[in-house]
């Protein structure tokens, strides 16, 4: 029972080994008016970060599944999950970062694609198993799907070529294995 008596502050000490890291939180909610506003409002009202938030209907039409990427030390992440759980419309909250999970994000990139660059762009797209979904004489729109690391690597290669616009869905995620949230 004896422990550090120096400070009782719910501290950030334990987090130095962990640092501020991104957490992927999966939230099962009622598919109802105002749920998104409630969740988003909770984050702003309590000063939590939202790096991305994706929500759509789940396997059950009355339920929606949100994937939220947030960051903070363990105390903040604990508060994030506890505060989410307090919402009446929230059915289940799981911090996927604590287990094995798969994560995918879809990205659309509009590129300047002049004649001399078109082959190189095609090659890179091919390597990342992306698709060209729109072509014009001077541009491509490329679709790439993958986890954060893959998207980052793709963007690192493609950005110097001349990106006109990027849109990302933000990641969606599920835990690995047969275990389900609902």
């Amino acid at each position: 029972m004896v422990q550090s008596m120096a400070s009782r502050q719910a501290s950030h000490q334990a987090d130095h080994d962990q640092g501020l890291r991104a957490h992927v939180i999966s939230v099962l909610v009622e598919n109802r008016v105002g749920v998104l506003a409630r969740v988003a409002g909770l984050f702003t009202g309590r000063g939590f970060n939202i790096e991305s938030l994706v929500v759509a209907e789940s396997e059950e039409p009355t339920l929606s599944r949100m994937t939220i990427v947030t960051s903070g030390d363990t105390r903040i992440i604990e508060q994030v999950t506890k505060q989410l759980n307090k919402l009446v419309d929230v059915i289940k909250v799981v911090d996927l970062s604590r287990e094995h999970f798969v994560e995918r994000e879809l990205i659309l990139v509009k590129l300047r694609a002049e004649t001399e660059q078109r082959a190189e762009i095609l090659r890179i797209t091919d390597i990342f198993r992306g698709n060209i979904v729109d072509v014009s004489p001077k541009s491509y729109v490329i679709e790439v799907t993958g986890d954060g690391e893959k998207i980052r690597a793709f963007l690192d290669l493609i950005k110097p070529i001349g990106v006109l616009e990027i849109v990302r869905t933000g990641p969606v995620a599920l835990s690995r294995g047969s275990k389900a949230l609902s």
Partner: protein, 562 residues
């Protein structure tokens, strides 16, 4: 049989056992008001919707049953916001019904339209817009269920005008089905056993008790536990009344204006048992110096998010205070130990602190001290009197000097610190308990924020006894300006305005005034013996401050005694 939304509203309230509504009519709720006219439910026409919510809140704090409030759309609804946040911060069960423009007009900037559902999202435990009359009964059932179960709180139900007019089959549901809502009541048994073991071994334990003990009606269990373990008890502002202040184990309130001995006990305790309390900044002082000698902190809270939020907890127990205390007492009864002897030195130390630095003030012959007025009220009030307060010096002196002996006799805005709470909350409690004495202890600044509710008290013959401690200033603001802003009293002087006796008389209430110390007791005696609503103005010393005081951001140990 088919019923219209307004009829369903009233029938549902009757099913919930509602006997009083605090409200104010307006355009879109007229259908509801029309039906309400013939219903066996009392309706108090409050003069401002903020007053209506505070009255519902006062009713709820005094009875433990949800308070009900009804307002129209737009400004009626937005006027409810302060009351809802007040109830949300202090976990008070109320259900606020607001009218809304017809569903067809929502979003069109219609007359008296306000998105009250959106505005109040962070102010409520839960909220609804009822878009179909078929959903109304179920929504009301859920609203009452959510407001009073788990950690209580305010629930908003926004009812568009057409929904109150349209008809449907009325069937009140027997139960609610909410898959995202299942509060934990029973504590984890393993944790309870660990807590019992730690408590049994502690040499210098403290029970630190908050509003959760009041809302779960755990006063008997709390007393049993304290007496079993011979352990001193300190309460937060909201915990007052859960443990009798006249008990030899009572240390009074802790924190910013807490007693010296309660704060010292927190500093020196080897075990702190937080019971339905949330380690608010006004309680802990500077966090890194809080509970520096505590080897163990045990924390019961029905709200898991309160655990570990500000202070590290060694033995967290999520659950209802009453239920958990019951199982904890059972576990402790199997342990045979002589705690009376074990804790005698600790209680002796605390008694020494109390003797060395008691709560004190110097009541001379000339100017009345606020503290003296509270002591006089405490002496004159019957045991079951209900006390409502404003916010500021009046509130802190009441918390320090009134001797509470029963739970639910103390109505105060703790978390939000809402000035103007006193009079409407007193009205709410008086509606719930017409036979009991309800006393408001208010400041001049606080009183003026909702003084229009005097009309309500007079109209419904609610005999609230309001005592205004008048120091012509926003007293607590002045205190801070004196101590921390070089005595620059920037805009905190209210002057001797209005004449409170005349004001009372203008409303048809009785007014009394005391300006000298020797007048205080006889004036209060007369006031309390006078039927009907009474305002008593006591002119007090504007130089007097609330002590002890832990300056904001300082450690509990650094409290200033005078």
């Amino acid at each position: 049989m088919k019923k219209c939304g307004a009829e369903i509203f009233v029938e549902s309230l009757l099913k919930e056992g509602v006997d009083a509504i605090f409200g104010h009519p307006g355009g879109v709720v007229l259908k509801i008001y029309d039906v309400l006219m013939d219903a066996p439910i009392r309706h108090m026409l409050m003069r401002h919707e903020q007053g209506a919510v505070h009255a519902a809140d006062g009713y709820a704090r005094a009875t433990g049953r949800p308070g009900v409030c009804l307002a129209t759309s737009g400004p009626g609804a937005t006027n409810c916001v302060t009351g809802m946040v007040t109830a949300n911060m202090d976990a008070i069960p109320i259900v606020v019904f607001t009218g809304q423009v017809p569903t067809t007009a929502i979003g069109n900037d219609a007359f008296q339209e306000a998105d009250i559902f959106g505005i109040t999202m962070p102010c409520v435990k839960h909220s609804y817009v009822v878009r179909r009359v078929e959903d109304l009964a179920r929504t009301i059932k859920e609203a009452f269920y959510i407001a009073q179960t788990g950690k209580p709180g305010p629930v908003l139900v926004d009812i568009p005008k057409d929904v109150s007019q349209l008809e449907t089959e009325f069937k009140y549901p027997h139960e609610v089905k909410l898959r995202g809502y299942a509060p934990t009541y029973a504590g984890h048994l393993g944790q309870v056993r660990r807590a019992a073991k730690a408590l049994a071994q502690a040499k210098q334990p403290v029970l630190y008790v908050g509003g959760g003990a009041v809302s779960s009606n755990a006063a008997p269990e709390l007393r049993e536990l304290a007496e079993l373990l011979h352990t001193p008890v300190t309460t937060t502002l909201l915990g007052l009344g859960s443990f009798p202040e006249t008990h030899h184990l009572a240390m009074g309130m802790l924190g910013m204006h807490g007693t010296y001995w309660a704060n010292m006990a927190m500093c020196e305790a080897d075990l702190i048992f937080a019971i339905g309390a949330r380690f608010d900044d006004r309680v802990t002082g500077r966090l890194d110096a809080f509970a520096e000698n505590a080897e163990t902190i045990i924390h019961i809270d029905i709200d898991p998010s309160n655990i570990g939020k500000n202070v590290r907890t060694d033995i967290p127990i999520v659950g209802d205070v009453k239920t958990v205390l019951r199982s904890l007492i059972d576990a402790l009864r199997t342990i045979k130990k002589d705690w009376a002897t074990d804790h005698a030195p600790w209680l002796e130390t605390i008694r020494d602190w109390a003797t060395a630095h008691p709560l004190k003030y110097d009541q001379g012959d000339e100017v009345v001290k606020g503290q003296y007025v509270i002591e006089a009220i405490s002496q004159l009030a019957p045991k079951d009197a209900i006390i409502a307060t404003g916010v500021g010096q009046d509130q802190m002196w009441a918390a320090q000097f009134y001797r509470f002996t029963q739970p639910r006799t103390w109505l105060t805005s703790g978390g939000l610190g809402t000035m103007g709470y006193c009079l409407p909350a007193a009205i709410g409690a008086q509606v719930a308990y017409p036979e009991r004495m309800v006393i408001g202890i208010d400041g001049d600044g606080s009183f003026q924020m909702t003084s229009q509710e005097l009309a309500t008290a007079v109209q419904y013959k609610l005999p609230v006894k309001i005592v205004i401690l008048n120091n012509y200033y926003l007293g607590m603001v002045k205190q801070w300006q004196e101590l921390f802003y070089n005595k620059r009293y920037s805009h905190s002087y209210l002057g001797n305005i209005p004449d409170y006796v005349k004001l009372a008389e203008a409303y048809g209430a009785k007014g009394f005034r005391a300006t000298k110390p020797h007048e205080v007791l006889p004036t209060l005696q007369r006031a309390f013996a006078t039927p009907g609503p009474v305002i008593t103005e006591v002119v007090i010393d504007s130089e007097e401050k609330v002590y002890p005081m832990v300056p904001a951001g300082a450690a509990l140990r650094e409290m200033v005694l005078a």
